[in-house]
């Protein structure tokens, strides 16, 4: 329970107070992530295995169709490529698609007590991360079976580091969309359309050679999924370190997202509660 509260700075709690609040409610955040996962796979016999089966089967079908269209050399290499693209795309889009409703769905909690918004904003990317980790394990197993796993080396340290990099990207993304989603209910529909369009210019199934070709340079710079996919696939699938270009692009995107998230959070403050 609340020990002491002073609402003098109701709209702009000092950062330290905010962190203390987050610390007090960390159990709630983590348990709600667990609740989301359990709810998603509850009453299904295969449970969380669906986190692997679903994108894998989708990848198998899509790789077949697009493999024919693009005339790829190896169906299985392409399947692994598409599978890796899908699970990362799911992580990325969940942060936005589920993010828009993060605060709206938390109304019941937020109107009963002074719980920091960030608890519900973190719930989304953390949940997406767990699903992603499950799927990533499936990807590694598939690569081992197909004998496509790259030689072991220091670059593999970048595989867990990527999770941190992805969270650093997705957390502010969810914060931004949760605020916009609560404030402007139309956002949900706009993002659905925008993400559908982005999908077709993202290296989910588009070959990385195509993305990296000189005439695609603009796409590489404006589509945040490009550096993310590069940083994910590089160490895990090709035995490469992160490229300087990817790291710079990721850094710029993260800086822009965090800045926007902080500005939005501070300018709206707890006033968002009136829009719920």
């Amino acid at each position: 329970m609340q020990q002491y509260a002073n609402y003098r700075n109701t709209l702009r709690s000092p950062a330290l107070l905010y962190l203390a609040d987050l610390l007090r409610y960390r159990h709630l955040c983590w348990n709600l992530v667990g609740s989301d996962l359990r709810s998603r796979f509850r009453r299904s016999r295969l449970g969380i295995l669906w986190a692997i089966i679903q994108p894998m089967s989708f990848a198998l079908v899509l790789a077949y169709v697009y493999g024919k269209i693009f005339n790829v050399d190896s169906y299985w290499t392409f399947t692994v490529y598409v599978f890796s693209g899908f699970i990362l795309w799911d992580f990325f889009t969940a942060s936005i698609n589920l993010g828009v409703d993060a605060l709206v769905n938390a109304e019941g909690y937020l109107k009963q007590g002074r719980i920091p918004f960030i608890v519900f904003q973190l719930r989304v990317p953390l949940g997406a991360m767990v699903t992603f980790l499950m799927a990533e394990m499936g990807l590694v197993v598939l690569m081992l079976i197909l004998g496509q796993f790259p030689p072991v080396g220091l670059h593999l340290l970048l595989v867990p580091a990527f999770i941190a990099a992805m969270l650093a990207f997705c957390i502010p993304l969810t914060v931004i969309f949760s605020i916009l989603g609560a404030q402007f209910r139309d956002i949900k529909y706009v993002t659905t359309i925008a993400l559908q369009a982005l999908f077709f210019v993202s290296p989910v199934f588009l070959d990385r050679g195509f993305i990296e070709s000189p005439h695609m340079v603009v796409l590489r710079y404006v589509n945040p999924f490009v550096p993310l996919a590069g940083m994910f696939r590089g160490p895990l699938m090709y035995g490469e370190y992160w490229s300087t270009e990817s790291m710079i692009l990721w850094g710029v995107w993260c800086a822009a997202l965090w800045l926007s998230a902080i500005i939005l959070s501070f300018s709206f403050g707890r006033k968002i509660i009136y829009a719920l």
Binding site: M1, Q2, Q3, Y4, A5, N6, Y7, R8, T10, L11, R24, Y25, H27, L28, N31, L32, S35, R38, S39, R42, E107, G108, Y109, L110, K111, Q112, G113, R114, I115, A182, Q183, F184, R185, D186, I187, V190, G269, R270, K271, I273, Y274, A275
Partner: protein, 281 residues
Amino acid sequence: MSAEALRVVASDDEPVQSTGLVRREVRDCAIDVNNATIRYPIGPYVRGSIKANLMRLMGARGEKVGKVEYVNALTDISFKVTKGERVGIIGSNGSGKSTLLRAMAGIYPIATGSIALSGELGTLLEVGLGFEAESTGRENIYYRGMAMGISPRRLREAEQAIVDFADLGAFIDLPMRTYSTGMWVRLGFAVSTHFSPDVLLIDEVFGAGDAAFAQRALARMKEIVQHAGIVVIVTHDLYLVRSLCTRALWLDRGKIIADGPADYVANRYENRVASRPEAVE
């Protein structure tokens, strides 16, 4: 918990029976509301229209673009509550009673002024909300408890007592989407009232399940109200105010009309209702 039941809480002089409430020493507590004003946005802000905002970006003016408008839900409210006080907040519908209570709980941000509160805070606002429908009742005990800022360790200790109090039988291990509305309220009430706070904020009275449960809820309510350091209750029931509260605040259109001994304020309010029934419901 019906209004009638709460009246019994207020009037009954019998010694309080323990209902399993986790009691502890009440610490120093206080509420200090100082010139608090709440501006409640109405219109496009609440509806959240992108169109209105885009139009404004493009330089459109006038009513069509839906300018954000505000009403003052509370204007310049100041009062202090000290340990031991039982405060009733009365007033007509839309006078700002619930808004004030939520501002005191830190839920609604204030535009100007300040609200300071010390002591452990407990609220009984919409207890039937804020559950995960796909999770079981037992799991939701933890979520609700953690949302109150209670550690998982304390919740593990309290789990069985809460389950017993809610008395939902086998339903406690079923997803809450299978529950009836009454069952949601029962579980919410059981968790929300299990831990005795220093400062207790109660919004209106609420229905809490069948007759058998109402009896238990009544006893629990009695215990928690008697044990809390400060109780602030928003209600339309003047009998409750007179019998339970030591002090009353009368709000009208977001302003304090009267603040004083419960009987005195309740009488004044009642006289106003009698003389101008159209102005005050």
